[in-house]
């Protein structure tokens, strides 16, 4: 017990915003989650503690389109630590219009298993 560490999270399930406390042992195994009001909070804290993931949404440059950027997303949530690197890398990608919603822009980005896909059609300008 004295070696156990306490980590705090703000639950995002609803506006209540429960202050969640995760107690973990020296192997970073979750011992107990406290502070939740509903079970969603307990599950959220475990996931955030063990393997926090995020959907990434950003834009990619497109030439000849109705707009200069086309919005993209990851097809699945990726490890939180990869978010900034993925966005930085996508700054060097340039597409040519037209682009279709669902088009895969980058496959298996950084080995996460998630693809970068366009989230709208980008017709050619005019």
């Amino acid at each position: 017990m004295p070696d156990n560490t306490l980590t705090h999270y703000l639950c995002i399930g609803c506006p209540l915003g429960c202050r969640l406390e995760v107690e973990s042992d020296d192997g970073d195994n979750v011992v107990e989650v406290r502070g939740w009001t509903c079970k969603k909070g307990d599950a959220y804290a475990r996931q955030e503690h063990i393997d926090p993931r995020r959907m990434v949404t950003t834009t990619v440059r497109v030439n000849g389109g109705r707009w200069a950027r086309v919005p993209v997303k990851t097809s699945d949530a990726v490890p939180k630590g990869q978010v900034e690197a993925i966005c930085r890398a996508l700054r060097s990608v340039t597409l040519a219009a037209p682009v279709r919603m669902g088009d895969v822009i980058v496959r298996d980005v950084f080995g996460t298993g998630a693809d970068i896909v366009a989230t709208r059609d980008m017709p050619a300008a005019g």
């Binding site: 440059r61 930085r88 890398a89 996508l90 700054r91 060097s92 980058v106």
Partner: protein
Amino acid sequence: MLYDVVIVGGGVIGSAIARELMRYRLRAVLVEKECEVGFGTSKSNSGIIHAGHHSAPGTLKGDLEWTGNQMWDPLNADLDFGFKRIGELTVAMNEAQVHEIEALKRQGETRGVPGLEIWDRERTLKAEPNLTPDLLASLSAPTAGVINPYEACFSLVENACINGLELSVENPVLGITPEPDGTLTVKTRHGLYHTRFVINAAGVFADSVAAMVGLNDFRIYVRKGEEYLLDKRLEGFVQRLIFPCPDPVTRSKGILVIPTFDGTLMVGPTSHVVDDKDDLTTTSAGSDEVFDKVTQVVPGISSRDCIAEFAGLRAVADGEDFIIGPTAVKGFINVAGIQSPGLTAAPAIAAMVIDILRDEGLALAPNDHFIPTVPRRVRFGALPIEEKIRLADENPRYAHLICRCEHVSEQEILDAIHDGARTLDGVKFRTRAGMGRCQGGFCTWRIMELLAGELAIPISDVTKRGGGSWIIMQREEGEQQV
């Protein structure tokens, strides 16, 4: 090559002088430090053409106010910048103030201002039902009017340029040297101008410009006025300019309600001396002062209706009067300390300066090719529907609306750019695009695209008002690889 006249400063005074000068065969240049004319004091004031009775007799201000007032009708007939005589009411809340407005009436009548009438409470409220029922009487002055002062500047200079004026913007004057032969050399950021006359119309900086030729006989200090614009939904809430009774000690005109030329109500200005000639800040104290005082006269006005605010600086000379005339330096003429009612007086000041130049030996041969007008600018939103349909058929860009709050079309914005707008503010003050309740939230990006396209510059080079007022940055692309 010798210029006849260099005008320093493109405010309404310099602009009006420039336009009058071009009635004669002269070589003249107007140098302006900002990126467009009218971007100093002339852009940020109440836009009132005063009725003619306010200023004390025996002053230049008093003499030129009424003369100037009468010159705006023909000027507007030529240049079509928009001028309406909406009249004003000066409101008396107690017996002492009733005596004050009676004295104002006599002052105006002595000067020949027509139509001045004392209205009792009932008549006042019948004309302006949203004034406080606590008032006792008012002085009605039907000769008062409103203009958009910046549009007046743009039109005056546009017309002057049609008639041969050279215009040099973003070009501050760095020094002026009297030459042995009686001419002057004006050193500017963009080069030297060798000239016979310099008109110092440099506004709040007129004392610094005079000091360049060694004249240190006056000082300009600045009085700041904060003004607050209200949502257009209040259009018509009051129909006339509403003045409180002037303070018997300071003679300050106080906080006004101004139905601007475009119908937007404006309240202000405050009037406080500040040290910094670049101090264009609005303050919470100023806002409180404006709304506290204005609601005493027009109780229905609320700060909740505010859509924008600004501050302007008035150039005040020692002694409070205008300083207009030749100086100890041959060819150097001051037009300084032009505070209120300077806008009203501007055409009269221009005429006076022409006389001074003649007296000082400038030969004024009429320019037989003088064109008094500028091409009429279309204000699409204000046209009757049949006219709209006709114009839209002719040019679809009139039917393509860019600014939804003020109903400004693509073609009007293109017209403004062709007439000289170089910046978002330049477009805004010519067309009202971005001046309405959303304050450009919806249309800024479109206007930037149009400016960039017409001026053949990258969008990121479009500025709010020149100088370092950039709006967006390019991304740094391509430095990383996937």
